[in-house]
Symmetry: C2
Subunit: 202 residues, 2 copies
């Protein structure tokens, strides 16, 4: 076994997670074979089990890899001292940037995590809920500050923003000609200015 958690092992394990992410993103969990994943990282099918106990464990690790950092970053944003508006923009930027950096893993988390057994889904669900609640808190602050209109359904708003970001993120992953920064800018613009013209302000 890999007792010393040697650097080589760590490195190859990361390569394995990335390979699995790429293949799962392309073919889906059930459509991807262990042969596919192995050949993506240049080894043979049987060798893959040196890094994953099972195909399902590979999926679990990819999902966790996909969402972990992204929640951490959200934690930092939410607890920062910046005003509402800046935190909202930072959220969108972080969310969409995550899609660019580790795009396949995040896509896999969104689309394939439901195929994990319930026990393994719980941790991911907690992370996801945590993320949403942090964003909800930002909106609540916005309402308190008067930056957002009274009575806004913050739960709904947070869920919607996540929905927009994921929708665009999926498009970014699928069609990698999209300019991520342009998308970020336009989503931010949409959230702050809406569709209707700012009738009475500058």
């Amino acid at each position: 076994m890999q007792n010393p958690e040697s650097p080589k092992y760590q490195q190859q394990k990361l390569a394995a997670i990335r390979a699995a992410a790429a293949v799962f993103a392309r073919k889906g969990f059930h459509g991807a074979s262990t042969t596919d994943i192995a050949s993506e990282m240049g080894i043979k099918q049987g060798s893959l089990y040196y890094y994953f106990k099972s195909k399902e464990e590979a999926l679990a690790e990819v999902c966790l890899y996909g969402i972990r950092e992204y929640v951490q970053r959200m934690e930092e944003i939410a607890t920062s001292e910046q005003p509402f508006e800046a935190r909202l923009l930072a959220t969108v930027t972080s969310h969409l940037s995550s899609y660019r950096e580790k795009n396949e893993a995040l896509k896999v988390h969104n689309d394939e995590r439901l195929y994990l057994p319930e026990i393994k889904r719980i941790k991911l669900k907690q992370l996801g809920s945590h993320y949403r609640e942090l964003l909800e808190g930002i909106f609540e602050d916005g309402v308190r500050d008067g930056a957002l209109r009274e009575g806004l359904d913050c739960h709904f708003a947070a869920q919607s923003v996540i929905g927009i970001c994921n929708a665009w993120g999926e498009l970014i992953v699928r069609d990698n000609e999209l300019d991520v920064f342009e998308v970020i800018q336009k989503v931010n613009d949409l959230l702050l200015n809406g569709f209707v013209p700012p009738k009475a302000t500058a």
Copy 2:
């Protein structure tokens, strides 16, 4: 064979499409077996091939079933004489209502169509693009009328609205405790009023 396209055949074929939709929605295309689909409609695995030439053809029919009506309805909305605002609201209502009525098929169309061979995907892609273009047209009218702010990126806006509706639609399908009409109302509210307060108007 089913030469006269007998009513019973039609009826069972529809049942087959619905069963396939339900199973594909739950397990994904590759995760669903023909045994699953057959037993969902109360017949045996082999009998399924009386209705579908192949599993892949079943997917194609489910996807088409999922999106067809929904585009037709959009066509009617887009070409109606109503003002911009009413057409936008009607679009959201139609989109989300579709999710309630034939929710599994629409979910399958969104999530699994990429597993179809390219030839079969083309027709679906055309339908989807057509839908987006119609919505884009509505936004363009809105800009022309002054209901929307000058310089709004209508392509981006349309794509974003579709993204929001799909995100909520997926939630509706997954968690069927959600009140569809409440979601419709809130999405409409979001689109018209945005997050920020309507500073100078009523």
